[in-house]
């Protein structure tokens, strides 16, 4: 058995960060990845490839199409296109049981979903960290914004974040590079909206895409589809950023094609001593040992590892003396909002494919009377953008021939869309358990039960209505609301936000939570969980940067404890 100082399970957003931090602090570190290796630049096989070089012209590969045959679950997300198919998992390699529709989107490669993530990054605030305490849903977070603020700065300086300073207490500013520019339509809506609602702001998205060079990574060249991989390293991914830093220490080893079967637990020492993996090619098992283990496999994969790691001491899953493991699953609910048209501005246009949109920070339930809602707790923000209609509009109107071709030669009118991302409450009955079946690697499947509750559904009504109200107040025409949710159907089901979180939550009390304030298992001191599984509530902002900050902070603590002889 090969021995390391530390083992990191997963190489995505948090695994890459753990690898960087632990190796830079002097630990010989092994990163275990279930998927294949993906090398920066070389394996971005569709980067800058024009549409006509794809047989299906980079079609969206929807559920039921022949091209999505091996991807019946992955095909549910609008992100699943011909050009990025190879960065999503083939579903037979990660089967699970759905009680109600729950969409589990996974990468299956070194870098994980960091290659295809949405790149929007927003700090949490104490509005979020105190939310559970204030309204009684979930358990209190064991940390506050002040604990994480320096780590947000640390992460932002390394990954590179472009954005605008707003001075909002509930959406703290960070270490920003110059923001990307808004287009004329967005400027129009911003002006009208902020005039009609002086307490609301419309800003350019805060995004982990460079507008200035950092560590040899170049500013964005605005080709558009980041998710194909970026040879200039202009967006943050494990490949462009954390793994090279870890590799530079000489202390990093990565083993791809190795899915974790279970963690090895020594009851006498009360420590995890190693990891058992299954080689996905040969199906043979292999063990690795280490003094410190970081679980960064992604929310549900991490919890699955803990649940399958049973022992006499932990018959219900490792580090699960609380019984909280697997419970309090959350996601952001979305695919709800409004669209409108903008009259005029036909002499304005843009150049370049900006891989970013606009953001409207939360304005409900901020703690004051003016923003308080009686019908739901917590809140939501909007992502969106304006653009001039392109040639696709030709497919939805009458007319053909020379006249149609001439019409499509020019861009159409401006339209503006807003999509809400809403906070989801932590509820015990949204949970994952082990099913009776096992997968091709002999690992028990997860059974996932997750639904939106009354609070989310009440919030959605406001998310649609407020979007329409703001667009109308801003001067948009023909405003229409939309909501893709229907109970028991696909369209806006849990998981689709790909912000799944919870199921091994942090908390102050070992009787009701799995992890302490340092992402350390209450029950097993040398076991840390720093991916989305650790979340005790969900906020309404995109979660990845918070996972990164928590990971860096936990690594700092863990290495300190190791040096103090406490692990």
């Amino acid at each position: 058995m090969t021995t390391y100082d530390a083992i990191v399970i997963g190489s995505g957003i948090t695994g890459g960060w753990a690898a960087k931090e632990l190796t830079e602090k002097g630990l010989e570190t092994l990163v275990i990845e279930r998927g294949r290796n993906v090398e920066h630049r070389k394996d971005y096989i569709t980067e800058h490839k024009p549409n006509w070089q794809f047989p299906l012209r980079n079609a969206r590969l929807g559920v039921g199409t022949q091209s999505a045959r091996e991807y019946p679950i992955q095909a549910r997300t609008g992100q699943f296109h011909e050009s990025v198919k190879h960065f999503f998992i083939k579903d037979h390699r990660n089967p699970y049981v759905e009680d109600k529709p729950f969409t589990w989107i996974q990468g299956d490669q070194v870098g994980g979903k960091s290659l295809i993530w949405g790149r929007q990054v927003y700090r949490w605030s104490d509005l979020d960290f105190e939310a559970n305490l204030r309204d009684g849903h979930g358990v209190d977070w064991p940390i506050r914004y002040a604990d994480l603020a320096p780590w947000y700065s640390y992460v932002e300086r390394f990954i590179g974040v472009s954005g605008e300073h707003l001075g909002l207490a509930h959406l703290p500013d960070g270490e920003f590079q110059p923001p990307m520019e808004m287009n004329a339509g967005e400027k129009f809506v911003k002006a009208g909206l902020e005039r009609a609602f002086p307490d609301r702001r419309l800003t350019i998205g805060r995004v982990a895409i460079l507008t200035q060079a950092v560590n040899g990574r170049l500013p964005c060249h605005y080709c558009g589809p980041c998710e194909r991989g970026c040879s200039t390293g202009s967006y943050f991914s494990s490949q462009s950023s954390t793994l090279p830093a870890a590799r530079a220490t000489g202390r990093l080893t990565i083993v791809p094609d190795s899915v974790v079967h279970s963690l090895i637990y020594d009851a006498a020492k009360n420590r995890v001593t190693g990891v058992r993996v299954v080689d996905t090619t040969t199906k043979q098992t292999r063990d690795y040992s280490a003094r410190l283990i970081f679980l960064c496999a992604s929310t549900l994969a991490t919890t699955r590892v803990l649940l399958t790691s049973k022992s006499p001491r932990f018959p219900d899953g490792l580090a699960n003396s609380s019984g909280a493991l697997g419970r309090y699953l959350m996601d952001h609910h979305f695919v709800v909002g409004a669209n409108g048209a903008i009259e005029g501005l036909l002499d304005r246009y843009y150049q370049g494919n900006r891989p970013n949109g606009i953001y409207i920070p939360r304005f409900r339930n901020l703690g004051d009377d003016a923003s308080r809602r009686g019908d739901y707790v917590r809140g939501f923000g909007y992502q969106g953008g304006a653009s001039r209609q392109g040639w696709t509009r030709g497919g939805s109107e009458a007319g053909f021939g020379v006249e149609l071709k001439r019409k499509l030669h020019d861009p159409g009118r401006w339209t503006m869309g807003l999509t809400g991302f809403g906070e989801c409450l932590p509820r015990a009955d949204n949970q994952v358990q082990l099913a009776d079946q096992t997968d091709e690697f002999g690992i028990p499947l997860l059974r996932i039960h997750c639904t939106w509750g009354e609070n989310e559904l009440a919030m959605r009504k406001d998310m649609a209505a407020s979007a329409a109200e703001m667009l109308e107040a801003a001067g948009c025409q023909e405003v229409q609301t939309r909501d893709a949710y229907e109970e028991g159907e696909l369209g806006a089901e849990p998981g689709l936000g790909i912000h799944e979180m919870g199921t091994a939550r942090m908390g102050r009390d070992p009787r009701t939570s799995v992890l302490n304030a340092h992402n350390q298992a209450h029950d097993v001191p040398n076991l840390f969980v720093t991916d989305g599984a650790c979340m005790a509530s969900s906020s309404c902002v995109n979660p990845s940067i918070t996972y990164m900050a928590l990971t860096a902070r936990a690594c700092d603590y863990a290495v300190g404890e190791l040096k103090r002889g406490n692990l």
Binding site: H48, P50, N51, W52, Q53, L56, R57, N58, A59, L61, G64, T65, Q66, S67, Q79, H81, E181, M182, A184, E186, K187, Y222, C223, P225, R228, N339, L346, D347, Y349, Y350, Q351, G352, N353, R354, G357, G385, G390, W391, T392, G394, G395, E397, A398, G399, F400, G401, V402, R406, L408, H409, P411, A465, V479, Q480, T481, R482, D483, A484, E486, G491
Partner: protein, 194 residues
């Protein structure tokens, strides 16, 4: 205030667009390589896999009426009919493929009943009149099931054309790499980005 709300189906269709994936055209800088051009042009060995030669020709003929050659190439030169055959062969579920083929047969049936001959044998004026009827019905306010085929063929023609090299690079143009300029005069650009 009562407010219009689009159907759930429309909302689903909008998802991909809102998330920035569906219509963002990838861009290419500079001149295309020879291998690219070769890959695009129909090789002599190319043959349809789902459409019969007659059906292929029918698709090409209708597509060329939808996006005709002007001072730039039209749908036929851009190979829209080959794109349609690829979609039918490799992408569409069987039920949708059969529905499309039935719609294609219906075009000839309409031509037969109106003019006593298949669509391709009709005069250009007769064809345009037939397509005009289908187009009007397909985009009438009450969009009926019988308009499905023409809506679909028109969509495929437009997608096939504007994602082709001719459509994306000659008729329209691709945004160059480099800077993002969010608010510039349209006159400085002159035509839509593909």
């Amino acid at each position: 205030m009562s407010r219009a709300s689009i159907s759930r189906r429309q909302a689903l269709e909008q998802v991909a667009i809102l998330l920035g994936g569906a219509i963002s055209a990838p861009t290419v800088a500079g001149v295309l390589s020879k291998p690219t051009r070769r890959a695009w042009a129909a090789s002599p060995a190319w043959a349809p896999r789902t459409l019969s030669p007659a059906q292929l020709e029918l698709v090409a003929t209708v597509a060329e009426h939808i996006i005709p050659q002007t001072d730039t190439p039209g749908a036929r030169a851009a190979g829209v009919h080959r794109f349609v055959d690829t979609l039918l062969s490799d992408h569409y579920p069987a039920t949708e493929r059969d529905r499309f083929l039935a719609g294609l047969a219906d075009v000839d049936a309409r031509a037969q009943s109106a003019h006593g001959q298949p669509f391709r044998q009709c005069s250009p004026e007769q064809r345009i009149a037939l397509l005009g009827e289908m187009d009007a019905r397909a985009f009438a306010s009450s969009r009926g099931e019988d308009g499905w085929f023409f809506r679909r063929l028109k969509e495929l023609t437009i997608v096939g054309y504007y994602t082709s090299e001719f459509g994306a690079m000659q008729e329209l143009h691709v945004s160059p790499f480099g800077a993002y300029r969010g608010d510039i005069p349209y006159a400085s650009v002159g035509r839509a980005w593909s």
